[in-house]
């Protein structure tokens, strides 16, 4: 029974991780850029949600789409104005640049909001089904995370923009020949990455403490999920997220919670060497 509880915890955690990583994965896959800003964008989303709730009493559920949209605009602008200029530069350049932007955003958040952990407390109680206990806010978070991830999948699959993104992901030169404005698609993709980060932040504000100290942790999770699941694909991120969630949950149970993070990272290093395409092995052309 205890194992079942751990498993359920892991899956709930995994759904959150999938939502956390899917935008990062998409940006990496399509733009070939490791977006070091992702962790800070999530925390930024959390802060916006927190202050909307704290100062104006706006429910996080209503804040979520607004925050997500705001971050989309921010991401679109950042990509269009700054990152697009180095898009074909070597890894070192693009990674260092996004790291630099991350430092700026991180610094301003720390100065204006301070690193004191805060949290949206909704007190929704817990649900108990067959001996398995689960806080309601976490369950709602999971449902929202899955919903958003599913939505992104549908957008990529069904919409014109989504098909264009996938086309650029497959072959940007040919996509350009087919009349796709690649630079715009890049900006939109980066915007979607930021949007997902903002939405994740809004969900996390209810579940986790909101503090800038967590930016690195979130970014690390995104790395691990991407490497486990494979790049640029929504199902990959989902698989990677759930695998990581379950592994962390169980290793927390067996070795103690302080080692859960280490196990995740160690797994990533092993997988990087053994199977860099990720567990799903698909190259992410959905």
């Amino acid at each position: 029974m205890a194992y079942l509880q751990t498993l359920v915890n892991g899956i709930v955690l995994g759904a959150l991780y999938a939502c956390l990583a899917v935008g990062f994965s998409l940006v990496w896959g399509v733009l070939n850029i490791v977006n070091m800003l992702h962790g800070s964008l999530i925390v930024f989303g959390s802060y916006l949600t927190f202050f909307a709730w704290h100062s104006y009493g706006i429910s996080p559920l209503i804040a979520l789409p607004v925050v997500a949209l705001f971050l989309f605009v921010l991401g679109y602008a950042a990509q269009f104005a700054v990152i697009n200029r180095v898009i074909s530069a070597p890894v070192l350049t693009t990674m260092t640049l996004t790291f630099g932007l991350d430092l700026i955003l991180y610094n301003f958040m720390t100065v204006y909001y301070t690193a004191t952990p805060r949290r949206v407390t909704l007190d929704l109680g817990v649900i108990e089904v067959g001996g398995i206990v689960m806080p309601v806010d976490r369950l709602i978070g999971m449902a929202l995370a899955l919903l958003l991830t599913g939505l992104l999948y549908l957008v990529l699959r069904r919409s014109r923009i989504g098909r264009a993104i996938v086309a650029v992901r497959m072959d940007s030169a040919t996509a350009a020949l087919m009349g796709i404005r690649v630079n715009r698609i890049y900006a939109i993709t980066f915007g979607i990455g930021a949007l997902m980060a903002g939405a994740t932040g809004a969900i996390f504000a209810v579940i986790y403490p909101v503090t800038t100290n967590l930016t690195g942790t979130y970014l690390g999770k995104a790395f691990v999920v991407c490497v486990i699941g494979g790049l640029g694909s929504v199902p990959g991120a989902l698989v990677g997220g759930i695998v990581l969630g379950v592994i962390e949950s169980f290793s927390g149970q067996f070795f103690g919670p302080q080692h859960a993070l280490t196990v995740g990272f160690a797994l990533m290093l092993v997988l990087l060497v053994v199977k860099p395409t990720g567990l799903t092995g698909i190259k992410g052309y959905e």
Binding site: V34, V91, M95, F99, D102, L103, I104, N107, V111
Partner: protein, 325 residues
């Protein structure tokens, strides 16, 4: 005078300037000189893998931190200081060689992510292995006697010695077959492999070289400050600062890392004093400016290029764009 002689001369003058600081300046400046020497060694080390070979390695903090801990633990086990530093150097070198053989099979983003992952894994292991490393409480080390002035002078000497050794290794590598091979790998790894360069061996050598003296610097740093903890030793900021310093000067050159570190530290010193709260943002801003306006580093700037740019024409030498890997 050949280019190498000129580089060595400039470097020698710089070392002498740093070494002379205790004669005229306060302990604050001496401390700054020690920090500059320390970072110059780290940056020169990173240059082997990041500059010559072109691999985006972000694992400097892992090597530095391991050096701190290896040195501190040997010293606490009762070894004399220099022996502890030697052990730390060898330990970190062996660690990097073993690790390099594994992760250098990766390229591009995957290598970068892997190298950051290593910093995290090592940091987490060190902070959770409380019985050996003291965990989050850190480790205390016996301080050298003789008062702050004498200690500062000793460690200035030590750090400068490490910096000189790193520079000499850089000059040797730069002129050797190894350096040539590494530059080939930087330009096109497959082609380098094709013409008979043992790419795996070359890359592992470069990676080990990039770690070896970081270990010494770490151990010396631990002895200098007398206290280490995981967050300080494995700082993610250091892991990004070192490549940025190198890129600021000019990666892949002999003098670039030295110039870059000096320029960066100077910049930091000016801003640090005035905007304490914004030091990370300033580092970020330096990065953005560096990438957009100084793509080849300070040393790649030429007078004519600058004039052309200011005049709004693009007559200057174009920096060739690379195909992403």
């Amino acid at each position: 005078m050949t280019a190498t002689q000129r580089n060595c001369l400039i470097f020698a003058l710089w070392v002498m300037a740093l070494a002379a600081t205790p004669l005229w300046a306060s302990n604050y400046i001496v401390r700054l000189a020690i920090t500059i020497a320390m970072y110059t060694s780290l940056t020169l080390s990173w240059n082997f893998i990041g500059g010559f070979t072109g691999y985006p390695s972000f694992s400097t903090a892992a090597f530095f931190g391991l050096g701190c801990y290896a040195g501190a633990l040997s010293q606490r086990a009762g070894m004399p200081m220099p022996l502890a530093w030697a052990i730390a150097t060898l330990f970190v070198g062996a660690f990097a060689a073993a690790l390099g053989a594994i992760i250098l099979r990766l390229r591009g983003h995957y290598f970068a992510i892997g190298s950051i992952g290593i910093v995290e894994v090592v940091r987490l292991i060190v902070s959770s292995w409380g019985s050996l490393t003291g965990g989050g409480d850190g480790l205390n080390l016996p301080l050298l006697g003789g008062g702050p002035n004498a200690v500062a002078r000793i460690f200035l000497g030590v750090m400068l010695a490490i910096m000189v050794v790193t520079f000499i290794v850089t000059v040797i590598v730069d002129r050797s077959r190894l350096g040539f091979g590494l530059r080939c790998i930087e330009q096109n790894e497959d082609a380098a492999d094709m013409v008979g360069i043992n790419t795996v061996r070359y890359k592992v050598t470069a990676y080990t070289l990039s770690a070896l003296l970081c270990g010494t610097v770490g151990a010396a740093y631990a002895s200098w400050t007398g206290y280490i903890d995981p967050n300080d030793s494995f700082s993610i900021i250091m892991t990004i600062k070192v490549p940025v310093m190198c890129m600021l000067g000019g990666p892949g050159s002999v003098l670039g890392p030295v110039v870059g570190t000096a320029a960066f530290m100077l910049l930091e010193e000016v801003f640090w004093a005035n905007f304490l709260d914004y030091n990370r943002a300033i580092l970020g801003a330096v990065i953005v400016v560096l990438i957009f306006f100084l793509p080849g580093g300070l040393l790649a700037l030429s007078y004519r290029d600058l004039v052309a740019r200011l005049a709004g024409t693009s007559r200057g030498k174009k920096v060739p764009k690379k195909v992403p890997t």
